[in-house]
Symmetry: C2
Amino acid sequence: MQRDDTNSENILSQCKESGLRRTKALEVLVETLLERNSPMTLAELTEHPSLAELCDRATVFRLLQRLMDKGIIRRLGLHERAAYFTLLVPGRHQDFLICTKCGDIEPIKAPCPVHKLEREIADSTGYENLYHELEFFGTCPQCC
Amino acid sequence: MQRDDTNSENILSQCKESGLRRTKALEVLVETLLERNSPMTLAELTEHPSLAELCDRATVFRLLQRLMDKGIIRRLGLHERAAYFTLLVPGRHQDFLICTKCGDIEPIKAPCPVHKLEREIADSTGYENLYHELEFFGTCPQCC
DNA sequence: ATACCTGCAAAGTCTTTGCCTTAGG
DNA sequence: CCTAAGGCAAAGACTTTGCAGGTAT
């Protein structure tokens, strides 16, 4: 089973094209984000078994920074104190449903209803490179 | 011209009903948020001329905290390091357009296209007290 | 060889709390 | 009067950076 390996190779070659060096830390960071398929904080990444022994917090931080600059990942708010990071896989835009009690984050399956408005806004305001972030907050069934 | 005074009285009586004492700091905080009509950070509030001489950062912080508990304001992400706070005026839900370069935040006039999906999510997931946050990010005409 | 990457430790930024004093109802 | 609110100062949480040394290309 090859799982996401092909996908992570795609992303890693994107990294190379952007001028990043292929280090072990970069490889594992990308794989970790890909496997989780949900936004992760710097702390979650740093303490994740795959990265914990491999490299320092500052390294993860700087990797995330470079990946953001290159447009390979995106930083999200998600209402926590800490920032969340998620891979930008084309055609994989996600909105989220977040429990305000336990903090659980789940991606929403339904198609995002916002793209039409996004277009209109781009046209009417002159903003460029528009993207959006949509989150639903509430109390999950377990916490109710 | 009475401007928002009636409105701030509305909110202040809501505060009283929730058991908050009517202090000068509370009055001015509410008026400040109301006048700006756009989310503000703790720092912006604390340094705002109307509040700067009047009370301490910790006071503003605790006021915001209480107002959140009472459901009178809401905390937003908006991608900055600092949290933003906005009054929850019924029927005044707002989505935002934010410049990733200069940080300018402007409310979007167009009606929010998400309420239907919000309902569907509530039905299908069992989450309660759902609300959402929708932000568009891009480069504003000045920064392009 | 050299420009980029890393680790460590320290400094920043924003938030939150403890404790004692003040004042609203 | 008595409990919520405020001031001050210190502690937390998360992020960011400087510098010396390591490594992909």
